[in-house]
């Protein structure tokens, strides 16, 4: 039957959950935090703006450049960061439940290396220069393709969607694709290498209202589907046999959940490169405070992930003046100390 190797490594924060907030309160608190993060992201940037100028620009009045900065640069970027952060956090939480592994994250089934392979191929071949949308489409195709490859390998082993086989296949396919990427880069010219590496470090600099709307169309239904699957996911997080014994349709839940979680990860990577840490740690942070129940965890992770990535994006834009830090760097450098602080809170008796 099931193995017990998937016990989470995070310690419970308190002995009793007496004073756990009701879900509505948690969501409200996190929504307020997200709102504050969004407002700060629009307020701050490389060009200093007063609050009055900011409000004018949002309304469309005032200097055309300022309006452009606020409406075409900062606002879409903030919303894109929020959407991507939410998608990555929910995707990570879903994979952690499905694979019963605390180290699962959105890219675990080869999504990031597939996307990077697609992106690098278009950069090296020069296709990304000729066609504007080539890079995100190729990255998305690469992500989905590598996930399908992982599933194909898992199926051929015989045990359909066994979590241990999936994890192993994911690691193997990732290694292969990463080697392929380095091979492509070895023979590429310096500028391609530079462009490819920059893409892989992740960035929201290309955000526009069009990309935000495409993201929203792809992400919001997937998020809704996963929220609806919260209870079966709870059961699956305990074990697949247990879930079956309690009446869950295990195969169908797994199929839908894997599909939606991969879609969330693939779309996020295609749009903004590989941003690590969010999908792994934000769900754990939410669990440390409020437990593993996915009915609360998934929406909370969405809001918290969005707020976290918006804050990281703001920092990456403002910490070093006009020099933008890669966002993957900021999420890890800032997120790790916060997470360590969370881990070190007094453990339960």
């Amino acid at each position: 039957m099931e193995s017990t190797s998937a016990t989470p490594i995070t310690l419970p924060a308190r002995a009793t959950a007496h004073y756990a907030w009701p879900i509505a309160f948690r969501l409200l608190a996190l929504a307020i935090i997200l709102l504050i993060a969004l407002v700060t992201a629009i307020r701050l940037g490389a060009v200093p703006l007063s609050t009055a100028a900011l409000l004018d620009a949002i309304a469309g009045r005032g200097d055309a450049s300022t309006v452009a900065i606020v409406r075409q640069l900062r606002m879409p970027r903030a919303f894109q960061a929020a959407l991507v952060g939410a998608a990555l956090a929910v995707s990570g939480a879903t994979f952690q439940a499905l694979l019963r592994n605390a180290l699962a994250e959105p890219y675990i089934l080869g999504v990031s290396s597939g996307a990077a392979a697609g992106a690098v191929a278009t950069v090296v071949s020069g296709w990304s220069v000729r066609t504007v949308w080539a890079l995100p489409v190729a990255a998305f195709a690469g992500a989905i393709g590598s996930m399908l490859l992982v599933f194909r390998i898992a199926f051929s082993v015989g045990r359909a969607l066994d979590s241990r086989v999936l994890l192993l296949a994911g690691v193997v396919v990732s290694s292969f694709l990463v080697a392929l990427i380095w091979l492509l880069l070895t023979f590429a010219d310096t500028e391609s290498v530079r462009s490819a590496i920059f893409w892989m470090m992740g960035s929201h600099a290309g955000a526009s209202w069009r990309s935000v709307s495409i993201l929203a169309i792809c992400l919001v239904p997937s998020l809704a589907v996963l929220f609806a699957l919260a209870r079966p996911l709870n059961l699956l997080a305990i074990g697949e046999s247990t879930a079956a014994y309690l009446g869950a349709n295990v195969e169908r839940t797994k199929l839908i959940a894997f599909g939606m979680a991969t879609l969330l990860a693939a779309v996020s990577v295609a749009v903004s490169g590989t941003i690590g840490f969010v999908g792994l740690v934000v769900p754990h942070a939410m669990r440390l405070v409020w437990g593993s129940d996915n009915r609360g965890l998934l929406p909370c992770a969405a809001l918290a992930g969005g707020a976290f990535l918006v804050a990281a994006d703001t920092l990456s834009r403002t910490l070093a003046g006009a020099n933008e830090l890669p966002i993957g760097v900021v999420t890890a450098l800032v997120g790790v100390p916060c997470f360590v602080w969370l881990l070190r809170r007094p453990a339960a008796k």
Partner: protein, 281 residues
């Protein structure tokens, strides 16, 4: 709980794992009795867990017929089965749930996708927790509990399903004496309340004291079936478990198995398998 005949009727079940060289279940015919405790015994690899999974509809037999209650097993949906059968499996992961959240999962088969918990659900959960004596720490995280307490929580979850049958797969393997005895006492109480209990266990002696019927499995076949005294004979146990034992009756008339020293040098006699069994009363 329903008042129909909550029991299994298995006829000549065979099952082979994919790519396995031989059958894991090699012709098993079994009828369980409602309202009784039936214990599945047998050495490691005899097929106890596999048989349980077939009975629970997780694995499909290659041949033979399996019926549960009034219809074939295949005619039951997972939700319907979940309302009748509560299962306490071996080896689960432990995400960070509170005791109450874990027990509340037993109500899954009764709630629609978006439905909130109703009073009847809350009552069932509370009742299950009380029976298993876990209601005093209902708000604690699972990770803060001991192994025995966690096992009781799982049992409470199964009871929250308000099942007519309880199936347990080696429920006391890692528990100490007190918890083990508590578990078996609880099973006896449930049996007295009308719940059918099927359990697979290694503890021959406690099975002999608490179970109504014993089923002895060896290499996928039933070699003995019936009341404890007929199943737990020294000759049968020594042969099946490949270790010499002697059997004594205790004060209540239940046979108790006592393992002896090192086995003799002669190899054991070949197994006499009986293919179809009726339960002897």
């Amino acid at each position: 709980m329903n008042s129909f005949n909550a029991g299994w009727s298995l006829r000549d079940i065979r099952f082979r794992h994919p790519r396995a060289p031989q059958d894991a279940i090699d012709g098993v015919t079994l009828e369980t009795r409602a309202g009784h405790i039936t214990a599945l015994l047998g050495p490691n690899g005899a097929g106890k867990s596999t048989l349980l999974q077939i009975m629970l509809g997780v694995l499909s037999p290659s041949s033979g017929s399996a019926r549960f209650g009034d219809r074939p097993l295949a005619a039951w949906t997972r939700t319907e089965l979940a309302r009748e059968i509560g299962v306490v499996p071996q080896g689960e992961a432990e995400p960070m749930f509170t005791v109450r959240e874990m027990v509340a999962m037993g109500r899954y088969p009764y709630l629609g996708r978006w439905q909130r918990e109703r009073d009847v659900d809350a009552a069932a959960i509370l009742d299950a927790m009380r029976r298993c004596a876990v209601d005093t720490f209902a708000d604690r995280w699972l990770g803060t509990l001991s192994g025995g307490e966690r096992q009781r929580v799982r049992l409470a979850r199964a009871l929250a399903q308000e099942p007519s049958v309880l199936v347990l797969d080696e429920p006391t393997t890692s528990l100490d004496v007190r918890h083990e005895m508590n578990t078996f006492e609880l099973l006896r109480t449930l049996r007295d309340d009308g719940v059918t209990v099927i359990l697979a266990t290694h503890n021959l002696n406690l099975a002999a004291r608490y179970a109504n019927d014993l089923v002895l499995l060896h290499k996928g076949q039933i070699v003995a079936l019936g009341a404890p005294v007929t199943v737990l004979t020294a000759e049968q146990i020594s042969r099946v478990y490949e270790w010499p034992v002697s059997v004594e009756l205790n004060n209540d008339g239940a046979p108790q198995v006592v393992p002896l020293g090192a086995p003799p040098e002669t190899p054991p006699a070949p197994l006499r398998a009986r293919r179809s069994m009726e339960i002897a009363t």
